[in-house]
């Protein structure tokens, strides 16, 4: 039935289109859905993706930038040559589809384990760490006067926010306490330069083909802040999927990431990157705790959520490896 609404929408703004086919829901949280479908066009079918909050889900979670901002950022990135899907249409009330946007579908793989193991990506893998550095550099120099309204978050504010989230779980974890102390003691303060920060740039949110990264997805957590945050987050062990000696998403070395970043004339601050890696590890651990809490309090009483709650201990061992490494 979503096909009828999509068809009505598409014929209005896509010249020559006669309708849509094959609408299939890819993922759906309570407030955000992703659908894939094809636009039927005399010149050939156009693959498309709808990202939307269904009708009745207006308010985004507090940390999210909102779908309108996400569309604007993806369009800006696309225009600047940062790999990104082309935004085709931002939903209006006339579309009767809720709020969100429609973008051109980029073919490729997002499942990290496949990207890290399958032969298809063997040639791309050694290039990815450096390529990611270049992409992040491009992303951090997107023109600030064209950005949508975004929250501004520096290190100090983030520590406080995560501490509050953690305390609200009432889940005493000595390792998390140790990490919070370490973060307070190593808070690098305000960044010399504030830029756009993607906020969730990692293996899993990248579409990869045999040729390398084709698109950066999920700009939901984009904000203004310390550009080193994105470099630290992409190095968090949780996104290495077992390739623990290749810090950059399981692809390669920090040095390659840094070289790719600096090749475009930007500067890396390795101490800040390390700070954000510790912060990111704790952040994922607290998010696992949030899953545990939502599982327990409902309404999503799913086994998957329950098991993600149990993954907090993975971040505990990773925090210890970062903060109190045993004799090597």
């Amino acid at each position: 039935m979503i096909e009828a609404e999509l068809s009505r929408s598409v014929v209005r703004w896509c010249k020559g289109a006669t309708g849509v086919a094959g609408a299939e829901k890819l993922s759906g949280g309570a407030s955000q859905e992703t659908w894939r479908f094809d636009i039927v066009h005399p010149d050939g079918v156009i693959g498309a993706i709808l990202r939307r909050s269904p009708k009745g889900y207006g308010a985004a979670p507090t940390r999210a930038a909102g779908l309108a901002a996400e569309a604007q950022l993806m369009q800006l990135a696309y225009e600047a040559g940062v790999p990104s899907p082309r935004v085709m249409h931002v939903l209006t009330p006339e579309d009767d589809l809720g709020t969100g946007f429609i973008m051109q579908r980029v073919e490729g793989e997002t499942i990290a384990r496949k990207i890290l193991r399958d032969d298809e990506f063997a040639a791309a893998r050694p290039l990815l760490a450096r390529q990611i550095g270049g992409i992040l550099a491009g992303l951090h120099q997107l023109p600030q006067d064209k950005l949508p309204e975004l929250r501004n978050r520096g290190a100090t504010q983030e520590i406080s926010d995560f501490e509050r989230d953690y305390r609200s779980l009432n889940w005493p974890k000595p390792v998390f306490e140790l990490a919070l102390r370490w973060l307070r003691d190593h808070d690098p303060g305000p960044s010399a330069e504030t830029t756009l920060v993607h906020g969730d740039f990692r293996n899993g949110n990248l579409i990869v083909g045999p040729d390398g990264v084709r698109a950066v997805l999920d700009w939901e957590l984009a904000h203004l802040g310390d550009p080193m945050e994105d470099l630290g987050w992409v190095c968090v062990n949780s996104w290495r999927f077992g390739e623990i000696d290749k810090p950059v998403g399981g692809f390669g070395a920090r040095e390659e990431l840094f070289e790719g970043y600096e090749a475009v004339g930007r500067k890396v601050d390795p101490a800040r990157v390390k700070f954000w890696e510790v912060m990111g590890t704790l952040r994922w651990g607290i998010m696992c705790g949030g899953m545990m809490q939502r599982f327990r309090e409902g309404p999503d009483h799913s086994m998957e959520r329950a098991m993600i709650g149990r993954r907090a201990s993975e971040t505990e061992i990773d925090l210890l490896r970062l903060l109190a490494p045993r004799g090597s």
Binding site: P174, R181, S313, E314, I317, L320, A324, S328
Partner: protein, 125 residues
């Protein structure tokens, strides 16, 4: 005292049944959910097997470290609180060793295949 078989034997029997007899019969999203369910039963079995010993060792270390007695939950709350207040840190004798031992015991239950855990397991301390 409850009768036998023990919870460990029972959860293991259910997990084996689902893994060996049911999993080959289903596919798609239900197969994925079944794998998660089997993983949960395996985790519970590991916890039932290991928890008693690791909790006892944890309480023993916490008593020494904190100089007080209590349940494993109470003692962890006190340790967390003392770290938060800066009364205990990595310079405190025994803290790092305690956190490592406790975390390794957790991973043995939660995720024995996690790469960081396997690496640390192979390390001689």
């Amino acid at each position: 005292m409850q009768d036998e078989p023990t919870p460990i034997e029972l959860t293991k029997a259910v997990a084996d049944f689902l893994r060996n007899d049911i999993a080959p019969l289903i596919s798609g999203h239900q197969a994925f959910k079944l794998r998660v369910a089997v993983n949960i039963l395996d985790l519970v079995t590991r916890q039932l097997t290991l928890e008693e010993g690791s909790d006892a060792a944890e309480v023993e270390r916490l008593r020494t470290l904190l100089g007080m007695d209590g349940s494993v939950t109470e003692l962890n709350r006190v340790l967390a609180d003392r770290i938060a207040k800066g009364q205990v840190d990595l310079a405190t004798p025994g803290l790092a060793e305690h956190l490592w031992a406790t975390t390794m015991d957790k991973l043995a239950v939660d995720q024995p295949n996690y790469a960081s855990y396997k690496r640390e397991l192979g390390r001689r301390v």
